[in-house]
């Protein structure tokens, strides 16, 4: 334990008002050093970033400057104007805002402060929102989307005129998304309203604190940073990797083999929190645990797709310590109070060292007691990854992703929002936007194109001048052209794009949903998954095996199918990419035989076999194995760069191999490796240097080949859809407005095709490509890899499959190859018809 030394009491009295000291005294506590330090810096007029582990009293620290200032504020005299919002608290989660209201309300009441605290979220009723506009609370707890809405209101400037502090909770998670971009722009606006505004960021440990420090203050001049307080320590967590008595499987994500061992650990502990990476893994683990739950321990399930009421029940039971175990996905990643958890089990690889640290931090809210965690690798490569993550955790290594430049689609949304609030001058708004860290390097030309886009779509064919949403008036101000534009804006605000999903409801078996509309809701499932189901198919959801009964409008009807096997698997590949840091660590480990004895014996044996039959890649090298199997030839590459980058690489390589006559048939990608199979003998071709591996993996594949493939890629269409919705080109869907998301999906795909062929340089396509490069395609990471392995490709031509290749070979056929093979499927279906009916239909 490394608790910070406490400041001497006389120091504390300098800045802490008397009621606070009395309160601390009554509780038998004393303020922590970082709380006082933060207060001192804030009182000195600074913005501050506080990085601290869970349980360090971060929240109270964040509000201390506000509370002390509010405590000293003279009472409002009758007849004096009402005071506006004093402190704005912004968190990524509605639930967190609600939680803070409760947790902050208690000390405020006990200290006896005359401070009002209220939440404002999507759930806040209209009458309460209106009242908040007239009688603002001192502290308003809200979300980034609500801030955007407040800014787009005509009274925004007045509403925020008394604002002193903005407290940003879970800043590390906010800044990495488009929500963070929108919030950064919102903050820039607030700084214009209130030039002396101070921000306080609360964050878990991150790799680059300076990025967050810049984010917290206006980048005018560029490079300015907030103050930084880092609370180190907390006790070192006790992390172990399950050394199973069972055989660790080659492939798969279920970790089913470890169920009895996990159950044993649950029985040994008071409350166990089980983290998995995807919803389907959560469902599966939950089922497996109940299969062995002989003592009927209260074990619950929690993930974002479940019905809200059910989630609340689980959270409540958790807070009351009524549960022995809870299986959860990332919805619980963020800081809500979880009762007395004394063990965290992480099933599947954590994909990033920082993510692992943050999840384990959940286990124990008292930072001076060690958290206890067990990692359960689901397959052999995950054993290596878990080991690397564990070592990183002991070293305190961080691998949070670097921040990216602000999205232009988000900027378009913000520009329209600003216009809805008040007329603006382009020069002024440009300067303001550039004070937001994600937009600090934005150039004027791009900014003007965004304004043009907001006004008329920004097309080279100037057809829409008469339909402009905002117009430049003679006074040099941009104004909304009619009130309907503002109405539309309010319905479309925010950057969270929901995947089209249907409500799942219970009905009687065999009723096919007819006449039984009132069944209990279980949650929501993506339409894309439900579309593949046929009447009678069984699948797992909400901790049950369900039978698919049918779809009607936006509801999916299911019945209970207890005891049945779930027939239809839901593909549960990793949602998070393997971090660059962990990938590097895994490569290092493979290259260092001495470290293999840290691994479970069966995994070390596997690597020894590999060394014997083939070779293990040197840390900086790319190993490529070729071998025949059945009547096919295989190429397996081991870049360890994450599935997205491998998938892009696979697409590009198969195009190139096709040109060289290798007759590739398909490929499959995992987080660790890539396998391509073909009719021609690729190994022999590489040996004859026709083509050489060096030229096959040359960086020039990121030029024309990438461009050509991207053109038709469903990945880019999906990315475009998000940009189109966020930028306001196309309106978001609202409950009850449309039957399903199909209309939106179809039309954005069609719009994409038309725009790409007529104006490929349009700003929205520019935004789409920028997104795809870091997102679904991970081109940037692929580019880094290709440059790293120049001249470092190690080719091993084998007679047969190598031990290292087994895991990915087992994935072949299990993983769908998305979107690209539709024609083949249609051909199969049409052939069936021809077989059944003979050729020459109705000829």
């Amino acid at each position: 334990m490394t608790e910070q030394p406490r400041l001497p009491d006389q120091n504390a009295t300098v800045i802490l008002p008397e009621p606070f000291l009395r309160w601390f005294g009554e509780k038998g506590w004393s303020p922590r050093a970082h709380q006082l330090e933060l207060l001192a810096k804030a009182q000195g007029g600074q913005s501050v970033l506080l990085i601290a582990p869970t349980g360090a009293g971060k929240t109270l620290a964040g509000f201390m400057p506000s509370l002390t200032e509010l405590a000293d504020r003279p009472k409002r005299k009758p007849g004096q104007a009402r005071r506006g919002i004093h402190t704005l608290y912004i968190s990524p989660l509605k639930a967190l805002a609600v939680d803070i209201e409760r947790n902050l309300g208690k000390p405020v009441e006990e200290i006896g402060l005359p401070v009002t605290i209220e939440t404002r979220t999507g759930d806040t009723p209209a009458h309460k929102r209106q009242r908040q506009k007239l009688v603002p609370p001192d502290i308003l707890l809200t979300t980034p989307e609500q801030l955007a809405l407040l800014i787009a209101a005509g009274d925004a400037k007045r509403f925020f005129q008394d604002l002193r502090f903005v407290v940003l909770d879970e800043l590390h998670s906010l800044v990495t998304s488009k929500r963070g971009h929108l919030l950064a722009l919102g903050l820039a606006r607030l700084r214009t309203y209130v030039p002396g505004l101070q921000t306080i960021g609360l964050s878990a440990t991150v790799a680059e604190p300076d990025e967050l420090r810049r984010w917290l203050v206006g980048q005018n001049p560029p490079g300015g940073m907030s103050e930084l307080i880092v609370v180190t320590g907390g006790a070192k967590p006790e992390i172990s990797i399950l050394d199973s008595e069972e055989r660790v499987p080659w492939a798969g994500h279920s970790a089913r083999y470890a169920t009895p061992e996990i159950y044993r650990e649950i029985k040994r502990h008071k409350t166990t929190l089980l983290f998995v990476n995807t919803r389907s893994q959560a469902e599966l683990l939950f089922q497996e645990l109940w299969r062995v739950n002989e003592d009927t321990l209260p074990i619950a399930l929690h993930h974002g797709s479940l019905d809200v009421a059910q989630r609340r029940r689980v959270e409540k039971a958790m807070g009351e310590n009524a549960l022995r175990a809870i299986v959860a996905t990332s919805t619980l990643d963020l800081g809500i109070d979880w009762g007395d958890v004394d063990l965290v089990v992480h099933v599947g690889a954590p994909k990033g060292a920082s993510r692992l640290a943050q999840r384990i931090g959940r286990a124990n809210h008292r930072m001076d007691e060690p958290s206890k965690a067990i990692l359960i690798p689901a397959n052999r490569f995950e054993v290596l990854e878990c080991r690397a993550a564990l070592d990183a955790n002991y070293l305190g290594a961080q691998d949070t992703p670097p921040l990216v430049d602000g999205g232009l689609d988000v900027l378009a949304q913000h520009v329209l929002g600003c216009a809805c609030g008040a007329p603006f001058r382009a020069d002024d708004l440009f300067e303001e936007v550039r004070t937001a860290a994600p937009y600090a390097s934005l150039d004027r030309t791009t900014f003007d194109r965004v304004i043009d886009f907001v006004a008329t779509g920004g097309y080279a064919l100037k057809n829409y001048e008469r339909y402009a949403r905002i117009r430049l008036n003679k006074d040099g101000l941009w104004r909304v052209s009619n009130p309907r534009v503002a109405q539309q804006y309010r319905l479309n605000v925010g950057t969270i794009i929901e995947v089209p999903a249907l409500n799942v409801r219970y009905v009687q078996a065999g009723s096919r949903g007819a006449a039984s509309r009132g069944g209990r809701p279980l949650g929501k499932i993506e339409e894309a998954f439900l579309e593949t189901l046929t009447y009678g198919d069984t699948f797992m959801f909400a901790g049950k095996v369900l039978r698919f009964e049918g779809i009607r409008e936006n509801e999916c009807f299911v019945s209970n199918a207890p005891g049945s096997e779930a027939k239809v698997p839901y593909y549960g590949g990793g949602k998070f990419p393997l971090s660059t840091y962990l990938a590097e660590q895994v490569r290092i480990m493979l290259d260092d035989q001495r470290r293999w004895n840290q691994l479970p014996e069966q995994v070390a044996d596997w690597l020894r076999f590999q060394a014997d039959k083939s070779v293990l890649p040197k840390r900086g090298d790319l190993l490529i194995e070729t071998f025949p199997r059945g009547n096919r030839h295989y190429l397996v590459a081991y870049p360890f760069e994450g599935r997205a980058a491998h998938q892009t690489l696979g697409m590009l390589l198969t195009r190139r191999l096709d040109r060289t006559g290798a007759k590739p048939l398909g490929f499959v990608a995992t987080d660790y490796a890539l396998a391509i199979w073909s009719l021609a003998d690729m190994g022999a071709m590489f040996k004859a240097r026709k083509p050489s591996l060096g030229s096959l993996f040359d960086q020039d594949m990121l030029g024309d080949d990438l461009e050509a493939w991207l053109a038709d890629s469903w990945l880019l269409k999906r990315t475009f859809r998000n940009c189109a919705l966020i930028s306001g080109l196309i309106e978001k869907r609202h409950p009850g407005q449309e039957k399903s998301g199909r209309q939106v999906t179809v039309s954005t795909d069609l719009v994409y095709d038309v725009l790409r062929s007529h104006e490929p340089d349009h700003i929205l396509l520019q935004a789409t490509r920028a997104d795809a490069a870091t997102g679904l395609l991970d081109v940037s990471r692929l580019a880094d890899m290709l440059s790293r392995i120049q001249g470092r490709i190690m080719h091993k031509h084998l007679e047969q499959i190598s031990p290292l290749a087994v895991p990915i070979m087992l994935e072949i056929g299990k993983m769908p190859v998305n979107g690209e093979a539709d024609e083949t499927l249609l051909m199969d279906a049409a052939t069936l018809v021809e077989e059944a009916m003979g050729p020459g239909i109705e000829e």
Binding site: T532, H762, E820
Partner: protein
């Protein structure tokens, strides 16, 4: 993923079918061609849909008319029909023809030159398109065929219509594939929408109830180089 890159001649690949005894080619680009009549039918062009939506605040790219006309130009160049029938909803709204950019109008007029061109009245465009040549008709009978915009409730053999924008969906190997399609039962045919921004409606939707003899329903789903004839029993709703 397969790599059958050989690109056979589109016309030769296109599937020939019979409608009320008349031979027709379902072209994968979404038009129907009757070689015996040198007649090309196209439905639901929805020209100027982009500008129509722009009037209501959705500033989607104004290139749909151009994109649709280029595709139409290609099929007309391939088949060189003597007669072209645009089966209604040729424009997304009554003012569409008037809003059309001059360059697009010229392109359209060039396409029309030298052939008989019929505008079948649709629900979106009941009146003749302003300032354009061609003959506007409610419906048109040629030989054993009847061309109209909306399929009639009473069964008419040989009826070619549009309006419903049919698409079909199949599930193969756990994956769902949805495509626009020609929907026919040997007696009548509903054509897919041709316009660049047009959406589509599954042939199993209740809007199609009673229109087809279900036992002989076929969906000719549009691929990139051919249409795929899929029997009604394999189709999925949604």
């Amino acid at each position: 993923m397969s790599f059958s890159l050989a690109r056979a001649s589109r016309i030769a690949e296109a599937d020939a079918i019979g409608i009320a005894g008349e031979r027709a080619v379902c072209d994968p680009r979404g038009v129907l061609y009757f070689p015996g009549l040198r007649l090309l039918a196209v439905s639901d062009l929805h020209l100027e849909k982009g500008s129509s939506l722009a009037r209501r605040g959705s500033l989607i790219p104004p290139y749909d008319t151009g994109a649709t006309l280029i595709r139409l130009q290609e099929v007309i160049a391939d088949y060189q029909p003597a007669i072209v029938i645009s089966l209604g909803d040729s424009f997304h709204d009554g003012g569409g023809a008037g809003r059309m950019h001059a360059s697009f109008r010229e392109r359209l007029e060039a396409l029309m030159a030298g052939r008989d061109w019929f505008w079948v009245a649709g629900n979106h465009d009941p009146e003749a398109p302003a300032g354009l040549p061609g003959e506007t008709v409610r419906e048109l009978a040629i030989g054993s065929l009847v061309f109209r915009h909306e399929p009639s409730k009473v069964r008419v053999e040989g009826e070619i219509s549009g309006h419903l924008h049919p698409c079909a969906r199949i599930v193969q190997q756990g994956r769902s594939v949805r495509r626009r399609c020609f929907a026919g039962d040997g007696g009548r045919m509903i054509m897919p929408a041709f316009g660049a921004y047009t959406g589509s409606l599954n042939v199993l939707d209740r809007a199609y109830a009673g229109l087809f003899r279900l036992e002989s329903l076929m969906a000719y789903m549009m691929g990139t180089q051919r249409v795929f004839a899929i029997s009604g029993s394999m189709l999925r709703p949604g």
